[in-house]
């Protein structure tokens, strides 16, 4: 399956999805006016990937900031990952947040309480 790579912009994050080694990465700022448009290819890719996932899917989410519109789409991404986890495949979600960024830590914990996949909160120290 082909990798999905999207360069980040001022309003959208970097995306690197690699099926071969089960690496899922979203990094940067996510504040598009229309988040569905941006996230649909990501959710579709994961849907396809979920049919034959890697034994371990390692997910790195490192968002500096995201708007509420993105927050629902990010949940959709996590729901796809949850489906993969439910079919007895290993999934680990690393949620990165900057030192002192309590909002971002709390946002990660909000997702952790909704999604039944192991989360790891990772503080980035400069």
């Amino acid at each position: 399956m082909e990798a999905l790579t999207i360069e980040g912009t001022a309003k959208t994050p970097n995306v690197k999805f690699e099926a071969d080694n089960g690496l899922i990465e979203i990094k940067g700022r996510s504040i598009p006016e229309n988040s569905i448009e941006f996230y649909k290819p990501l959710v579709d890719w994961l849907e396809e990937y979920g049919k034959t996932p890697a034994a371990l899917t390692k997910v790195n989410i490192q968002l500096e900031y995201f708007n509420t519109s993105s927050s629902k789409c990010i949940l959709d991404v996590f729901k796809k990952l949850e489906a993969i986890y439910k079919t007895k495949n290993e999934v680990i979600i690393n949620w990165y947040y900057e030192e002192d960024d309590e909002d971002m830590l709390e946002a990660g914990e909000d997702y952790e309480s909704i999604i039944r996949v192991p989360f790891k909160m990772v503080e980035i120290v400069d």
Partner: protein, 182 residues
């Protein structure tokens, strides 16, 4: 009697005004406001926490405007603009106030009033629960709106949302939202 836009707009200018805008709300304009305000706050070495709250309120507030500005009838477009909205950011004493304004059809005023009153009545923990509930149970609109912007502004600033509705005519009202940042 009636809503006088110029009086309303002038009254928003008491204090040290960082930015005052009335006109069309576009995605490009939102980008430039975000950049502009970020650099203004940088230049006065504003507290990073204030900067973050400001950024949050602007992203959510302006995207709300972008998604919800109603199409106006032609006689109103002559005086205002299509996609007409207002943004004023000012500093008074120890806090900033972000004022956001737009015309809405009057049938929406009760819904909005109830929603904001509800948000203002909740504690931080209750706001968190409400946010999570809507996040998990409500679908995004086709435009990408999730009904979370107002809750998020109240949650992140820790302040009540102040609002006013001014009746323009039988069909339209002007909605003003003030968000305090400190």
């Amino acid at each position: 009697m009636g809503f006088n836009f110029d009086d309303y707009f002038n009254k928003l200018h008491n204090g040290e005004v960082l930015l005052a805008y009335k006109g069309s709300i576009s995605a490009e304009w939102i980008n430039s406001v975000l950049e502009n305000v970020e650099s203004k706050l940088d230049s006065v070495n504003e507290d990073p926490r204030i900067k973050k709250k400001m950024y949050n309120v602007l992203v959510e507030g302006l995207q709300n405007l972008f998604h919800h500005v109603d199409d106006l009838p032609e006689e109103m477009i002559e005086k205002y603009n299509a996609k007409f909205g207002v943004l004023v950011i000012k500093k008074t004493d120890d806090h900033y106030t972000v004022s956001l304004g737009n015309f809405i059809t009057s049938d929406k005023t009760n819904y909005l009033k109830d929603k904001i009153d509800k948000i203002n009545s909740l504690t931080q923990d209750e706001l968190k629960d409400m946010y999570k509930f809507i996040l998990n149970h409500q679908k995004l609109s086709a435009k990408g709106g999730g009904g979370l912007g107002l809750i998020d502004m109240a949650r992140k600033t820790g302040n009540k949302l102040e609002y006013n509705f001014y009746e323009l005519n039988n069909t339209y009202s002007f909605f003003n939202l003030d968000v305090k940042i400190n």
